[in-house]
């Protein structure tokens, strides 16, 4: 519940099934596809795409992000900072 990122507890097939429930896709190379069938760029390394084995599904937004520890830390830091700027 809350900010728990359930992906880390799931096997790859279960991750794919959960993604598909939210209308994401996965191509044969393991890249996650958005609802338009396009690969999603990693925020950590814009030259690469988010693969299912390293992905996280962020609760509250159904947003797929790169799930590496540094990318997660960066995402959370930026989120808190940007929300703070808005206040």
């Amino acid at each position: 519940m809350g900010k728990e990122i359930i992906f880390e507890e799931l096997g790859e097939k279960e991750r794919v099934l959960l993604l598909k429930a939210f209308d994401y896709g996965v191509d044969s190379e393991g890249n996650i596809l958005n609802k338009n069938g396009e690969k999603i760029k990693s925020s950590e390394n814009p030259k690469s795409f988010i693969k299912v084995e390293f992905a996280s599904l962020v609760p509250g937004s159904l947003e797929v992000i790169d799930g590496s520890p540094t990318a997660l830390a960066k995402y959370l830091r930026e989120k808190v900072e940007s929300d703070g700027d808005d206040n």
Binding site: G2, E9, L17, L18, A21
Partner: protein, 263 residues
């Protein structure tokens, strides 16, 4: 023997999200493209949402909950306690607050009341439901903004984020004991007794608030009398007063009485 879709649905209903996903994969269900599988997909989506919000929202509610990430009150909580694990339950509280607002404005009164009861019943049946209900109730109360102001004051004074989280957790549990919403019929003596009891119980912070002229006058009289008897100084309390609302019909006073929580 291959299970029917209805049997699969019946079986996964009682499982956790993870359990349902593991079971479906074990049954060779790797996507939802087959006819009839949209019902299974809906259960998975509902479980994911239920895990977040502690109940299964309908389509309109799911949209409200998603959009509530931009709600100023939610953003305030997220700013103060970004790692709080029940942040999404706060959104459920905001949804109920929205239903209450509709009721107050005579919009679909019966429908809104029934829905609030259904949501609370669903949450109450979950493991730890009593506590989840407390969290849901918190943003719907008048005390919520006062307590947020108190936490913001701590953050402004550079209190560590872990301490803010601990305070938030504690206040979710005991805001009812630590706060007094002064009504027009309450007397100065009654409110003073409440304050003295808080000090006797060595409460490190407590809150007094009131709406409209009569309650505000009572609270101001209480503060004056307590100052005259050195209540704050002798109990090592500081206080902060927040007054809002220009006209008497929307005027509000909030008093935060606190000790340095490192004491």
């Amino acid at each position: 023997m291959e299970m029917t879709i209805e049997q699969i649905l019946e079986y996964i209903k009682s499982l956790s999200l993870k359990g349902a996903l593991v079971y479906l994969v074990s049954q060779g269900i790797l996507d939802f493209s087959k006819v009839g599988y949209e019902k299974i997909k809906k259960i998975i989506v509902d479980k994911q949402n239920e895990g977040r919000y502690a109940f299964v929202p309908n389509r309109e509610e799911a949209l409200f909950l998603l959009q509530s990430k931009d709600n100023p009150e939610y953003k305030q909580v997220e700013l103060l306690v970004p790692k709080y694990k029940y942040l999404d339950i706060i959104r459920t509280g905001l949804l109920i607050a929205n239903y209450n607002k509709n009721i107050a404005n005579n919009i679909n009164t019966d429908k809104n009341r029934i829905r609030i009861t259904q949501i609370k019943n669903d949450i109450g049946r979950r493991p730890g439901g009593g506590r989840l209900l407390k969290i849901v109730k918190f943003p719907t109360t008048e005390e919520f903004s006062t307590i947020m102001a108190y936490l913001y004051n701590l953050k402004f004074n550079n209190y560590p984020s872990k301490l803010l989280e601990d305070e938030f957790e504690e206040l979710v549990d005991d805001w009812e004991k630590s706060s007094r919403f002064v009504k027009n019929i309450d007397t100065v003596e009654e409110v003073i007794i409440f304050c003295k009891r808080q000090a006797e119980q060595k409460n490190k912070r407590f809150f007094i608030l009131g709406l409209y002229e009569k309650a505000i006058d009572t609270i101001e009289e209480v503060m004056l009398e307590l100052s005259n008897i050195d209540f704050f100084k002798s109990n090592n309390y500081t206080f902060k007063t927040i007054k809002s609302g220009e006209s008497a019909d929307i005027a509000k006073i909030e008093i935060i009485i606190y000790r340095d929580i490192f004491d």
